[in-house]
Symmetry: C2
Subunit: 335 residues, 2 copies
């Protein structure tokens, strides 16, 4: 089969090509793409399951020849980056549970009559990303329709004896910490971020109280942890403004907007799609994690969970030690 | 939580409502909707995995007040039927492998600003259907966008020691058989069909050579079996025109078109979305299956697989014993 997708508009031809270009599969894959279902061998274990849809105009703007986006909207996505992001968004959720991803199913819906190189490059982005992260592309579905490009990815992962790190579980006195730096992902990181799979597993193995990946933004995702954990303890979070790891992109974005450090901090607090891991951990475990941390990406403590008193805001930011409410200004999904 | 979905356009409010209205879950579901991933306990087994996307304008036309479709296009779908179909399409694929469905993940993308009763009823259609078929709704994702309604469903199933029934495996001399009757599903069955889960399992347990569910149409799906099986034996299929179970809907549709029995047979041969099981089985096993068949839906032999000679058509239809090529006039997916 040729390296390029067939020009024919037949789904069958396209699927034949896909089957010839599949990334390496796990020996546990008994039946791969092309039958009614995929069949995988499973172990006695807990399995992580995830679905997420990556859609044009919301998660990416497709690059068009001769068209440039305003600088503050960052670069448009190549079709390969679209495929990559569809997979890595699910990988990041696996990471946030401490799961090891095993298989992906992909349902791709393209505008009818979309150019052949679009579906070819989207698929290659998906296939390469699966290969990079050792994920078996177990099956999928491709269709044409009268709408924008939309890619649903379902993923399975294994826990291999590790207790999943939930959003609930944060208790007063726990340390609030984060991997990497935050803000300004729109300038490119949202298309090329590294899902923190090994880091998430390392943290889950060391018994973090709670964990989430930063998809909506620090203020919103930390609020989510307080709310979910609040079913057991009434907890709030205090973070120190000086401790927030403001990324270079956040600074660059603030500069593009003609603003300074305060605006860069705003981006670090509220921008989404950094896909770093926000985790909550008992102080003694935090010390052990810092000592043993073997990864390139840095980790940093932002603050501490506290008992929530009536009328207090869930999340507060301390500026020179003075607490003020941190509003959720991160991404709020609209239906 | 109220029985009705919140009027607010916030995703979080909607998710809270969804969590309050979830169908009964398997005790194997350790973490359900609301965290980064769902967590299920798994057994040592083969697992069936499937993803499929059900989209507006292709798999259904949404009912609108005061608007009636031409009679030959059948009834428009209620939102609940849309939710039902999104789940049952995956269930039918599970059935065609002989798998027992266990968990579903649903990603629902609605037009931004879609009325609240639409997302409420779509969800209830999903939830009720999961409850009916004992499927755990393990997680999902809901978004708004500037496009039509689209629902991706990923599903896991267990094989529980049964060998999966593939599309490949048909050999010369095998009997070609089918459950139920065919044609005219557009008049309503495509929205309310019964996925043949117990039947599929029964057949897989009895070692059918190959199996597929009729989603594209008999001529196309039988061709698919010949092609997939052809990697091992060069096989073709002969079916007898008199043996094809023409449904009442096929006859009714032909009548609406001002035509007769020949047109009704055409619908039975080429219409899609009947979601009956087409299976290929050794003659001695077929006899046993007929004797032991415990289900309400009838089964029927259509013909026989044959060794494919060079230049012969893959699928032939015998009219009064005379073979002629059966063209694939069923649904051909366009990209």
């Amino acid at each position: 089969m040729s390296k390029h997708a067939p020009k024919s508009s037949s789904e069958f031809e396209y699927i034949k090509w896909i089957r010839s270009e599949l990334p390496p599969a796990s020996p546990n894959l008994e039946v791969g793409p092309g039958d009614d279902c995929a069949i995988m061998r499973t172990q006695v274990d807990r399995q992580a399951l995830k679905i997420d849809t990556t859609i044009e105009g919301k998660h990416f703007v497709l690059a068009e020849k001769g068209k440039k986006l305003p600088a503050v909207l960052g670069p448009a996505a190549t079709p390969e980056e679209v495929g990559r992001k569809a997979i890595t968004r699910c990988l990041s959720d696996m990471a946030a549970m401490g799961a090891t991803p095993s298989a992906a199913l992909v349902s791709c819906t393209l505008h009818t009559g979309a150019p052949v190189n679009l579906r070819e490059e989207v698929f290659l982005g998906i296939a390469k990303t699966c290969a990079t992260y050792g994920v078996t592309l177990a099956g999928g579905d491709t269709q044409g329709w009268d709408g924008p490009l939309s890619i649903s990815v379902a993923m399975t992962g294994t826990m291999e004896g590790v207790r999943p790190a939930l959003r609930a579980g944060a208790a007063p006195g726990d340390v609030i910490a984060i991997t990497g730096s935050l803000g300004g992902s729109i300038l490119g990181k949202h298309l090329r971020f590294e899902p923190r799979i090994a880091e998430g597993r390392f943290l889950a193995e060391r018994g973090v109280s709670a964990m989430i990946d930063i998809s909506d933004g620090l203020s919103g995702d930390l609020t989510r942890i307080c709310e979910e954990s609040g079913l057991r303890f009434a907890v709030g979070a205090d973070i120190a403004a000086e401790a927030v790891p403001v990324s270079k992109s956040a600074r660059r974005l603030a500069k593009l907007e003609g603003e300074g450090a305060e605006r860069a901090l705003h981006h670090a607090l509220h921008d989404g799609e950094d896909f770093e891991l926000l985790f909550i951990v008992k102080p003694n475990r935090w010390k052990k994690i810092v000592t043993e941390w073997p990864f390139d990406v840095p980790i940093r403590a932002l603050g501490m969970m506290r008992q929530l008193k009536k009328g207090e805001p869930l999340v507060r930011i301390l500026r020179k030690g003075e607490p003020e409410a941190l509003e959720v200004m991160s991404w709020v999904h609209q239906l």
